[in-house]
Symmetry: C2
Subunit: 221 residues, 2 copies
């Protein structure tokens, strides 16, 4: 059976930067499920119109199409109960929902504030007008205005990350001895920052980079 993940790409089609798609690539690896990716750009709405909506991740698993990272994760957990659990026994999924909310409400904006112009610079030309219009509307400022005060925003990001650092000072993964979907969620955000930032967000010896490498190593990525 073929399993296909539509995965957001930059102008360089090997540069896959969506934090939500990274969650699912790690979740598929966690479940030991093979898959192929299709590079997808923001404006290729027609390519995923069959999914009934216009965003990735979209997973086609044989006859089944699922979109939305949480929906895909819940589908994988339900559909492949004999593989390692993505969440663990209750109440782990519920607690993971807090970590998801924190990641999307606090961590994503802190990273976006820094890397938005860096993303813009690396997009496929056909995506640039869409990205500029949607992000400038959401943030109420021009892409070019994001450059000002970068240093301060990198500092603000470190403050937001304090609870992650403190957690990982006491245990190997956010989920303890091995990564779970909570790790996938936070990893996705930091991978997005790491891949797209024009200047490094973290020192080479940062605990967070060691944790990211450890997550990838667990899955042989």
């Amino acid at each position: 059976m073929k399993r296909i993940l539509y995965d957001l790409a930059a102008a360089d089609e090997a540069l896959r930067f969506s934090p939500y798609c990274w969650r699912i690539k790690l979740a598929l690896a966690h479940k030991n499920l093979s898959y192929e990716t299709v590079p997808w750009r923001f404006t290729e709405k027609d390519v995923i119109a069959f999914s009934g909506q216009g965003k990735v991740p979209v997973l086609v698993d044989g006859e089944t199409t699922i979109s939305g990272s949480q929906e895909v994760a819940d589908y994988l957990e339900r559909q492949y109960p004999n593989e390692a659990s993505l969440f663990g026994e209750p109440p782990a999924r519920a607690l993971t929902m807090f970590i998801r909310a924190w990641t999307e409400d606090m961590l994503h904006p802190a990273i976006a504030r820094i890397i938005l112009p860096d993303i813009y610079a690396q997009l496929h030309p056909k995506d640039k007008a869409y990205f500029r219009a949607s992000r400038e509307k959401a943030w109420g400022m021009a892409i070019e205005d994001f450059h000002a005060g970068r240093e301060g925003h990198v500092k603000a990001l470190q403050a937001v990350l304090a609870p992650v650092r403190r957690t990982l000072a006491g245990q190997s993964f956010i989920a303890g001895d091995a990564p779970s979907y909570a790790d996938h969620i936070v990893f996705g955000a930091l991978q997005w920052g790491r891949l797209m930032s024009a200047a490094p967000l973290f020192a080479a010896d940062d605990l967070l980079l060691a944790w990211m490498d450890a997550v990838l190593a667990v899955y042989g990525i």
Copy 2:
């Protein structure tokens, strides 16, 4: 067997405001364990000197003395395995450690910034000099200077709480269908704010207050 919790009190000995002691009161209720509290003030170091340190919570459980909220919670979980688990199966305890780090690094400071002078006003006279000196040193500003910009700090607290609100919009408790120690930790912080703030921090119909009442109702408190 007698079980005694040393519990931080204000001038009014019925006003028990420590977020860390609240965690343990809920944890004891969760474990269905009866206990008595001893009201304790910051400067009564001699009263808990037997615990080998100078802070509450201190729990005396028969012959055993434990101090530090996490140490007490872990002790209760270990000592009373036949009662309802405080954390749930792995990886729930590890995920709870993230929620703890977030609460202490982000939520506590946001609440303290608002209520510090309100706490000071309600302390037992013998605690005031200690509290002033320690808090003014930690924050680098005078207690009286905390009053300025209160409205802005209440707004900042609402921003910090966004992930809690979003989580509780999708499920009854942070741990899902029933509260666990993750709920106790966040409850402790908000109870501290609710009890000590001179002006309400939340609207009467706030989702967070409904959740706090639901936590108390589960334990019949």
